[in-house]
C-alpha cells in the first residue's frame, strides 16, 4: 500500500499540457492536503460570517423581551442553525482544515494519509452543510413544519458527520504513520499532537452522534412518535453541541497557542512532555461527550448530608473527570508559558496575540462550564450555557485566525501585515467577550436559553444589546480578517522560508510548500529539528 499520494497537479503536468485541467477542476478534484486544508478553512470562515449574523439577529430579537419580529417557528430554527452552525459549519472545519494543511508539513511527510478519503470527507461535509441550510430555509429545521425537509435535515446531518469523521480519521492516521524518521511521539510538534488527540476524540464522539442520527432518521421517516418528531431532532444530538464536547473542537486552537509559546520565547519549550500531557488532558472531554452522563456537581440542595453517598461520589467523579480535567489541561498550557518566557526577550507577533487571547477566551469558557455544572446555582437551561459555548467556540475561532496568519506563508507564500492584524486580534477578543460575558450575567438572572421572550428582574435590554454588538463585532472581525488575508496572500510581501524563526519541520521547506512538501525525507533528532540545525550552524 503506497503511503505517498502524488499531488494531482503534478500528475497532470506529467501527462502533458493538453490534458491540464481547468483551475476549478484542479481544486474540485484535488487530493493535495494543502488545498484541502485551505478549502476547509475558507468554507469555515464563510460559514462563520453567516453564523455571526444569525447570532446578531437572535440577540436583536432578545432586546425587546416582550415582542418578536420573526415568527416563533423561524426563531426555533434559527437557534438550532446557530448552535449547529457554530460547531459544525465553522469551528470544526477551520480546526480540521488547519490540521489537514499543516500536520503533514510538521511531520516531514509528503502527503496526508488517505488523501482521497479526506477529499471525500470534505465534499461530504460541504454538501451536508449545503443541504442543511436548504432544509432550514425550506422550513425543515428542528421544529420545522415541512416533513420532507426535516427528513432532509436529518439525512444531511448524517452526511456532514460522515465527512468530518473521515477527515478526522485521515488526520489521526497521518500522525500515527507518516512521521519523519527519528520523530517519535514525544517529538511530535505540539499542534500536530493536539490535532491527533482531537481527531481521536472525534473518532469516538462523532460515530455515537451518527448512530443517533440513524435512529432519528428512521424514526422520523416511519414513526415520528418515539424520538419526538420534528421538535425532538436536536434533543438527542445536544451533546455534540455543548460542553465538554466543544472543548474537543477547540483543542487544535489550544495546540496552536502552545506551539506559539517557544516560537515567541525563542527558546526550546521547557517541560515539553508536561505540555503534551496537558493537551492530552483536554482530550478527556471526548469521554464526556460519549458517556453523556450527569456532569453536574452533586449534593444539590442537600447540604452536606451523606444520604445516597454512592451516587453523590459517582456524580462527583464524573464532574471532576469531564469538566475539571480538560480545564486542568488548559491550565497546564497557560502556566507553562511564563516558564518559557522567563529570562528571554519574547518577540510578540500578531499570530501569538490571536493564539493567546483566543485560548484565554476558551479558558474563560471552560471556567464557565465548571460553574454551570454546580446545580445549586440554577444555571442549567439559562443563557449562561450559550455564553459558555460562545466563549469556547468563538475563542477557538480567534486562535484559528492566528494560526492562518502564522502558517499562511507555507500555504500561500506570502505574509500578512502584522501591524494591521494586531488591532484585529484585540477587536476579535472584545467581540468574544461581548457576545459571551453578558450571558454569564443574564444567566444568573435566569434569562432562559433558546427563547426570545422572557421576564426577569434586572436590566434585560443591556445584556442583549451587548451580545448583539458582540456578534456584530465578530462579523466585522471575520470580514476584516478575510479582506486582509485576501489582499495579503495575493499581493503581500513574499515570505521567506522561515519568517518566524521557528523550530519545527514545516519551516524547512520553501514557502509556499511545493507539491509533495519535501524533496527529501528528513531525519530528526529532537522535538525542535530546525533549531538543532540553526544551533549547528551557529556553532560551526
Amino acid at each position: 500500500m503506497t503511503t505517498i499520494d502524488t499531488a494531482s497537479h503534478t500528475a497532470f503536468a506529467g501527462a502533458g499540457a493538453t490534458h491540464a485541467p481547468s483551475a476549478v477542476a484542479a481544486w474540485v478534484t484535488t487530493s493535495d492536503h494543502k488545498r484541502l486544508g485551505r478549502m476547509l478553512i475558507v468554507s469555515g470562515l464563510v460559514a462563520l460570517l453567516g453564523i455571526a449574523a444569525v447570532g446578531a439577529l437572535l440577540g436583536f430579537e432578545r432586546i425587546d423581551a416582550a415582542a418578536t419580529t420573526l415568527n416563533a417557528n423561524s426563531i426555533t430554527q434559527l437557534f438550532a442553525i446557530n448552535r449547529v452552525g457554530l460547531a459544525f459549519f465553522a469551528v470544526l472545519p477551520i480546526m480540521l482544515g488547519l490540521a489537514v494543511a499543516i500536520v503533514p508539513l510538521q511531520l516531514g511527510a509528503r502527503s496526508l494519509a488517505f488523501p482521497r478519503l479526506a477529499a471525500a470527507g470534505f465534499w461530504a461535509w460541504f454538501f451536508g452543510v449545503v443541504l442543511i441550510v436548504i432544509s432550514v430555509a425550506a422550513n425543515g429545521g428542528p421544529g420545522g413544519g415541512a416533513p420532507t425537509f426535516v427528513a432532509l435535515f436529518i439525512a444531511a446531518y448524517a452526511v456532514m458527520l460522515f465527512g468530518l469523521t473521515a477527515i478526522a480519521g485521515s488526520i489521526a492516521t497521518t500522525v500515527l504513520t507518516t512521521r519523519a524518521p527519528g520523530m517519535n511521539m514525544r517529538r511530535v510538534p505540539l499542534f500536530s499532537w493536539s490535532a491527533l488527540v482531537s481527531a481521536l476524540g472525534l473518532l469516538l464522539v462523532l460515530p455515537v452522534a451518527a448512530g443517533t442520527v440513524i435512529y432519528l432518521y428512521v424514526s422520523y421517516r416511519y414513526n415520528k412518535v418515539p424520538f419526538g418528531g420534528n421538535t425532538g431532532v436536536l434533543n438527542y444530538l445536544g451533546f455534540t453541541l455543548t460542553q465538554p464536547t466543544t472543548f474537543l473542537f477547540a483543542l487544535p486552537a489550544i495546540g496552536f497557542a502552545a506551539e506559539m509559546i517557544p516560537v515567541t520565547a525563542r527558546r526550546r519549550m521547557p517541560m515539553r512532555n508536561v505540555l503534551l500531557a496537558g493537551l492530552a488532558l483536554v482530550g478527556v472531554a471526548a469521554l464526556g461527550g460519549i458517556t453523556q452522563v450527569n456532569q453536574s456537581l452533586p449534593w444539590s440542595g442537600s447540604g452536606f448530608n451523606l444520604d445516597d453517598l454512592g451516587t453523590k461520589i459517582a456524580d462527583l467523579v464524573n464532574y471532576l473527570v469531564f469538566m475539571d480535567l480538560p480545564l486542568t489541561g488548559l491550565l497546564v498550557v497557560l502556566l507553562l508559558a511564563p516558564l518559557a518566557f522567563k529570562g528571554t526577550r519574547p518577540k510578540i507577533t500578531a499570530p501569538f496575540l490571536f493564539g493567546f487571547f483566543g485560548v484565554l477566551m476558551v479558558f474563560v469558557g471552560m471556567l464557565g462550564a465548571l460553574v454551570n455544572g454546580v446545580t445549586d446555582l440554577g444555571l442549567a437551561g439559562t443563557v449562561f450555557e450559550e455564553g459558555v459555548t460562545n466563549y469556547v467556540l468563538y475563542g477557538a475561532v480567534i486562535a484559528g485566525m492566528g494560526a492562518v496568519s502564522y502558517w499562511g506563508p507555507k500555504l500561500w507564500g506570502r505574509r500578512l501585515n502584522d501591524k494591521a492584524l494586531i488591532p484585529l486580534a484585540l477587536l476579535g477578543t472584545l467581540a468574544v467577550v461581548l457576545s459571551s460575558l453578558p450571558y454569564y450575567i443574564a444567566g444568573f438572572a435566569d434569562q432562559p436559553a433558546g427563547a426570545v421572550t422572557f421576564d426577569y428582574a434586572g436590566p434585560q435590554n443591556i445584556w442583549n444589546i451587548l451580545v448583539t454588538v458582540g456578534h456584530l463585532a465578530m462579523l466585522l472581525t471575520v470580514l476584516s480578517f478575510s479582506a486582509l488575508a485576501l489582499k495579503g496572500f495575493r499581493s503581500g510581501p513574499a515570505a521567506g522560508d522561515d519568517p518566524w524563526d521557528a523550530q519545527t519541520l514545516e519551516w524547512a521547506t520553501s514557502s509556499p510548500a511545493p507539491a509533495n512538501n519535501f524533496a527529501e525525507v528528513h531525519s530528526v533528532a529532537s522535538a525542535e529539528p530546525l533549531l538543532d540545525l540553526k544551533d549547528t550552524g551557529r556553532n560551526s
Binding site: 424520538f227 531525519s523 530546525l530
Partner: protein, 195 residues
C-alpha cells in the same frame, strides 16, 4: 533554505492497518452508541408498560444464532487469508477471501429471514420505538457487512491482481471482520438474547 540531513527511506508504517483499526474503533462507537440507546429505550419502555418487544412478535432464534455462528467462520477464513498471504499462497488467499465474502452474503440472507419471519411493523400505532430501533440497528449492521464484503473483493482483486507483496491489505481486512464479529456479538446479545 535550510537543509536538514536526508534520511534513508522510511520503513513502512502500516498505514492501511492503522487506518482500518481506527475505522474499527469508530465503527465500534457507532454500534455501541446505538446499542446504548437501545438499552435506554428498553429500560424506559419496561418501566412504563412492562414490556419492550411488541406483543405477538417473536424473535426467530434460529437465524439469529446462525448469524452469530457464521462469524466464527468469517474470522477463521479472514485469518486463513492472512496465514496464506504470509506464505505467498495465492490460491488459498483467494479461496479464503472468497469464503469470507460468501459468509457475509449468508449473513444478509439470514437477516432477511429474520425480517420476514418477524413481520415487525416499523410504523407501530402504539408509538413504541421497538420497530424503528430494530430496523435501524440491524440495518446499520447490514451496511457494515456489505462494506466488509466490498473490502473482501477489493483485497482479493489487489492481491490476486499482482500486488502479492501487499499483505497489509489482507491483514487490515481481517481486522475489519474481527471488529464486525465483536460488534455483531454485542448486537446479538442485546437485541436477540436479552430482547
Amino acid at each position: 533554505m535550510l537543509a536538514l540531513p536526508p534520511a534513508p527511506a522510511p520503513a513502512p508504517r502500516r498505514q492501511l492497518f492503522v487506518g482500518t483499526s481506527l475505522a474499527a474503533v469508530a465503527g465500534a462507537m457507532l454500534v455501541g452508541g446505538m446499542l446504548a440507546m437501545w438499552l435506554r429505550f428498553r429500560n424506559e419502555a419496561i418501566a412504563a408498560t412492562g414490556h419492550w418487544v411488541p406483543e405477538k412478535i417473536t424473535i426467530p432464534e434460529v437465524p439469529s444464532n446462525i448469524m452469530l455462528l457464521g462469524f466464527v467462520g468469517i474470522c477463521v477464513f479472514a485469518q486463513w487469508a492472512v496465514y496464506a498471504a504470509r506464505r505467498d499462497d495465492k490460491q488459498h488467499v483467494g479461496v479464503a477471501l472468497g469464503l469470507t465474502a460468501l459468509l457475509g452474503l449468508a449473513y444478509i440472507n439470514a437477516q432477511v429471514a429474520v425480517y420476514v419471519q418477524m413481520e415487525l411493523p416499523i410504523n407501530d400505532a402504539t408509538g413504541s420505538a421497538y420497530g424503528v430501533m430494530f430496523y435501524a440497528v440491524t440495518g446499520t449492521m447490514l451496511a457494515l457487512i456489505i462494506a466488509g464484503m466490498v473490502f473482501s473483493f477489493v483485497a482479493a482483486f489487489r492481491y490476486l491482481g499482482g500486488r502479492s507483496n501487499d499483505r497489509e491489505i489482507v491483514t487490515a481486512h481481517a481486522i475489519y471482520w474481527y471488529f464486525i464479529a465483536v460488534a455483531f456479538s454485542m448486537l446479538w446479545f442485546v437485541v436477540y438474547v436479552t430482547k
